[in-house]
Symmetry: C2
Subunit: 375 residues, 2 copies
């Protein structure tokens, strides 16, 4: 077993996640144990510069050049912090996998733009500050073999969750819902991943408009409402829900505009509206995963939606033959999941093993991901 660190910063800009893991093996024999985890929020000036670099209007080549190094230092510091927190010496650290900060992603070529993805956070700085080999820039290689460069976590999910006697459905409920299917005794090539439809996005927008609250904490409002079957039928008829996988969606499909249009058309009590939106998320997930249920099946829920008990209850009702759990029930950390994945991918790459899942990204083949900066 060797110590490694995975570093991740998501599009939500909450900060840099650093997961210290104990990892060994490769491919199907990989074992990973989370030792420690922390999130280092960006300093205010850095956050402001990241926001500028993300914006078409305010970004420019000088800002991106400088920010690549500034974020490299921030990632390096997060790695040093998680070592210090856990009392692990840098000498005991074998490698770091760093995702970087995504500044832009063009999944498909359009007009004069190439299919491309841009992550920054200079690996050379991380390497020098931590005196440790760094693997970085994971997504480009998947795109070089025709993939979309996303999702990038399914390989790690396979390693962490694959079970010989149970089909496992990893359902993330963030703004949007997405599922990764890991068939029992399945090869990695049997994995499937796609977006199930809305996660919390509609519920959250309703809470904001009705109660000026960010979300329905614990699902309390939904538990007090009554589902409108008429509205639910209309929602379930949405073309995205009816479409078979592979498919991806985003906040642009089920966000503010979508919800505002519903509010104009349907006159319901606030809690009835929220209950119906909650049931819509539950039913759309159930419909999406139904074809993959075969024998003993677990639906393992992560993301903010896993703390909405009304939602979880509705999913259980919709899927009586499935064992519905949340990540924490299995001892996994929902918040550390992506950072852990970066350590798993780096471990693969250093052993020249592949790390993408073609069924998930659309890539033509499995390839090792990322570039190695040796200390």
């Amino acid at each position: 077993m060797v110590y490694a660190i995975g570093l991740m910063s998501g599009t939500s800009l909450d900060g840099i996640d650093a997961a210290l893991v104990d990892i060994s093996g490769k491919n199907e024999t990989t074992t990973v144990k989370l030792i420690d985890f922390l999130t280092v929020p960006f300093g205010k000036p850095t956050l402001q510069r990241v926001r500028e670099a993300l914006s078409l209007e305010h970004s420019d080549v000088e800002k991106i050049c400088s920010l690549n190094i500034e974020l490299g230092q921030a990632f390096a510091q997060a790695a040093l912090d998680v070592c210090k927190k856990s009392g692990i010496s840098l000498d005991d650290l074998a490698f770091i996998g760093s995702h970087g900060q995504t500044l832009f992603h063009i999944p498909f070529a359009r007009d004069t733009f190439y299919a491309s993805t841009l992550q920054i956070g200079d690996p050379a700085i991380i390497c020098e500050w931590t005196k440790t080999t760094v693997v970085s820039n994971f997504r480009e290689r998947d795109m070089a073999v025709g993939g979309q460069g996303a999702p990038i976590v399914p390989y790690s999910e396979y390693v962490l969750y694959q079970k010989s006697d149970t089909t496992r459905l990893l359902q993330n409920i963030g703004g949007i819902g997405n599922v990764t299917v890991i068939p029992k005794s399945g090869e990695i090539t049997d994995m499937i991943a796609f977006d199930t439809g809305p996660g919390n996005v509609i519920m959250n927008e309703l809470c904001l408009q009705f109660y000026n609250e960010e979300y329905d904490k614990g699902g309390t409002y939904a538990s007090q409402g009554k589902v409108s079957l008429a509205l639910l039928d209309e929602l379930m008829a949405h073309p995205y829900i009816q479409k078979p996988y592979p498919k991806t969606t985003g906040r642009e499909d089920f966000g503010k505009q979508f919800t505002t249009a519903l509010l104009e058309k349907w006159l319901l009590e606030p809690n009835d509206f929220i209950a119906t939106a909650t049931m819509f998320t539950a039913k759309s997930i159930a419909k999406a995963v139904q074809p993959f249920i075969a024998g003993p099946t677990e639906l393992i829920i992560g993301g903010g939606g896993s703390y909405n008990q009304t939602l979880i209850g509705m999913i259980r009702t919709e899927l009586p033959e499935v064992h519905v759990l949340i990540q924490e029930d299995l001892g996994f950390s929902s918040e550390a999941k992506e950072a852990i994945a970066m350590a798993v991918l780096a471990n693969q790459t250093l052993q020249r093993c592949s790390g993408n899942v073609p069924n998930a990204t659309g890539a033509k083949k499995s390839v090792p991901l990322g570039s190695i900066t040796y200390y």
Copy 2:
């Protein structure tokens, strides 16, 4: 011996240089032989997009994201082209060193900007298209140990030119002049590199203003003029010329503005003006290299200025004790020099050997440069 390719695209945007070399050994035992070389000019739309990406006004994150992949494809194609030209199969290729296209360089931190450098041209694409391991992004690691990330070629110059019984002064005469000093029997830590002052920049500006010509071809205009000793004295008193090394300068110091001011102050015949500017370049080079002459010494001139016979003659006169040669006299290719250097640096990195020259970049230590994308 193994085949390798070095890829380079300079700030002049002439295109992508691809040098196919036969390379073996490492550190002082490295031997390199140039097998073939070509320059692939950028297509017009690509060139336009590179220019936009270089500009503070027209660049943005989306353009840079896309161009990274577009240039990755262009670099990959240049590698394929030089293989095809020379009849070498991809199977016989051991690795590629790719510099990428520099979009921006901030040698020292200022205001809210970090010392940083940005090269693009996705190595994952080059790796997949050529089925070959790629080493890329050489400059960041030098900056991570306190260097300026430039110049990047001195290590390769050491390997190619070091001679046990002769001090060699590699003088490049581009817009600006720069010299690399390789003392006889010297260690790499004895190497020195700095900018000598103007190269062709003043002569070229004078030719443009007097004759609407790009440069003084072969030094013909200068050969027909008479040097003004008064102007020459004023020029040689320039603070940059008087300053000891380490020092760097740029077109901003000796470019259009500088030359225009001279033209306003000094009323000379065109060819006398050009002859004086030529003598200024010759004398400033002689003054810069004088302290390093010790026993048998060769001054090996490369760059556009090496084809200006009047300039070369003046340098010979100024340095009677030095053997003045041009690159081609030694069988080296001036135009392939930087691309060859990328293959040399990649060869070092793959064997975990260092590739920067701290005396040249200001780095605190020698480090392997770049990140490795394994095929």
